[in-house]
Structures are given as C-alpha cells and as structure tokens.
C-alpha cells in the first residue's frame, strides 16, 4: 500500500519498489496534478520522467526485489515542479547518474536497442539533475519547467 500526504504546494508519496506500487504512485501523482490545472501533455511528460526514475530505482538500486522503500516528494514551484527522490538501495555506479546518450539507431533491425533510453529521456526533460549518496541513502533531485515557458 502506498502512503500519500498532500498540502497546498506539495505531494509526498511513499511506496515499495514494486512495478504495481510504482504505477499506483504515478497515478496518485498525476491525479494531484490534474487538480491543479496542468495540461494533459504536461502531466504526461512529468509522468514519463517520474516513471523512468522510479523504474530505475526498482530495477537497479533495489535489483528488482520489490520490497525497497521509495520516497518521492513533488513540490509545486513557480514555473514548474521540483522533485526529491530518496531510496535506500545500492548507490549509482561510479557515484553519478548515467550520461544518457542518444541511442545509435544507424544499425540493422536485429541490432536496434531495446533499452538504455531511460536516462536519455530524463536528461532531455529534467533540469538541474543532481545525485548524492549520503550514508546509505540515494538522493536524486531535479526540476521540470511547465507552463508557457516549457520546452
């Protein structure tokens, strides 16, 4: 069961690193945004980035165990949103987020990439991405610009 806390300018979700808890968390976050006059396309872009970072925690930090705790805080700030994500799993390899290069598509069909798009999408859509390992905790923060100034 996910835990949710909301106030005037933020929503905080606590869930496990299970694909269906992640999905339920995304749905909760999206319905909170829907009540705050964001456009459907903006919500979709936020959902995409949040899905990528949460799936990354579930798959890599917790190695698909499904029982790791994830804490996501979404704060509404002027011009967009700020995200703070914490987990208690393995650190990022090399102590930093992957570079997220665009995939090489100039290959035969048989060699087309089926993964590796996640960090590229995050890098394209999120701003001020920052990762820190403090003690046994992974901290990831970033912003997304929404509204008329959005890309």
């Amino acid at each position: 069961m996910i835990e949710v806390e909301t106030d005037d300018d933020a929503i905080r979700v606590r869930c496990l690193s299970d694909m269906f808890e992640v999905r339920a968390s995304l749905q909760t976050l999206m319905s909170d945004m829907a009540g705050r006059d964001f456009l459907p396309e903006e919500r979709g872009t936020v959902e995409l980035v949040l899905a990528e970072v949460l799936n990354n925690v579930a798959e890599h930090a917790y190695e698909e165990r499904g029982d790791g705790r994830i804490e996501l805080d979404l704060t509404y700030v002027p011009g967009g949103i700020a995200i703070a994500l914490q987990d208690f799993g393995k650190p990022m390899p090399g102590g930093q987020t992957p570079l997220g290069m665009p995939a090489n598509l100039d290959v035969e069909v048989a060699d087309l990439p089926e993964g590796g798009f996640g960090w590229f999408l995050i890098g394209e859509l999120a701003k001020d991405l920052s990762y820190e390992r403090r003690g046994e905790v992974n901290h990831l923060t970033f912003r997304m610009t929404l509204g008329e100034s959005a890309v």
Partner: protein, 112 residues
C-alpha cells in the same frame, strides 16, 4: 494486457486495448503481440490509439516486437497519442518505424 486482431485484406490490425505500455506490462505486451501475429497477414499495423502512456520499457518492447517479426512481417504503427509520440520523437524511434497519422492512412480500405 489485451490486444485484439482484425484482418483487413492483406493487413492485420492489432489494437492494444490498454491505456499503458509500461515496465509492469512490457513483457506481457511483447508476448500478446507475438501470439496474435503467429499466423495471418504479413503486414501488421499496431494500433496505439488507446495507449495514453508509454515509458522506456514499453518503447523497448515495441522495438523488440519489430525485431521478433523482422524476417516474417512488416510492423507499422498508427494512432500515437501525444505522450507516446513524444517518446518516439525524443528517442528518434520515429525514424525507424513507419508511423501513420490515422487508421484511414494506415489501411485505406477502411476509409471507404
């Protein structure tokens, strides 16, 4: 994950009856599309008009289907909703797939 097949002349239209192709269902999606294309026409048009959300795992599954079918079928896409279209465009996968604007463009026999 439910998909529905309809044959129109030499084309098999496979409609995804789900609003999401995400990490939770990517494998089921791949298996479901493979199952409905095991027989029938060689031209497959994947109708994504009910899919409002796809993530990188879902995108990977669509690419995996294209690879699975590559020696026996052609796979084309139709009905990309805004977020799905954005994921294809950002990753440049829109250059790898034939993407039709709507069903009338994908299967002209349906337009008449």
């Amino acid at each position: 994950m439910e998909v529905r097949k309809t044959d129109v002349g030499d084309t098999r239209v496979v409609k995804v009856n789900d609003s999401r192709i995400d990490a939770a269902v990517a494998i089921q999606f791949k298996d479901a599309v493979r199952a409905v294309t095991a027989d029938g026409p060689r031209r497959v048009v994947l109708d994504l008009s009910d899919v409002s959300f796809i993530d990188s795992s879902g995108l990977g599954a669509v690419v995996a289907v294209k690879k699975l079918l590559k020696d026996t079928h052609t796979l084309e896409l139709v009905g990309l909703t805004p977020v799905v279209a954005k994921v294809f465009k950002l990753t440049r996968m829109d250059t790898i797939f034939t993407i039709h604007r709507d069903m009338a463009a994908a299967v002209p026999a349906l337009a008449s």
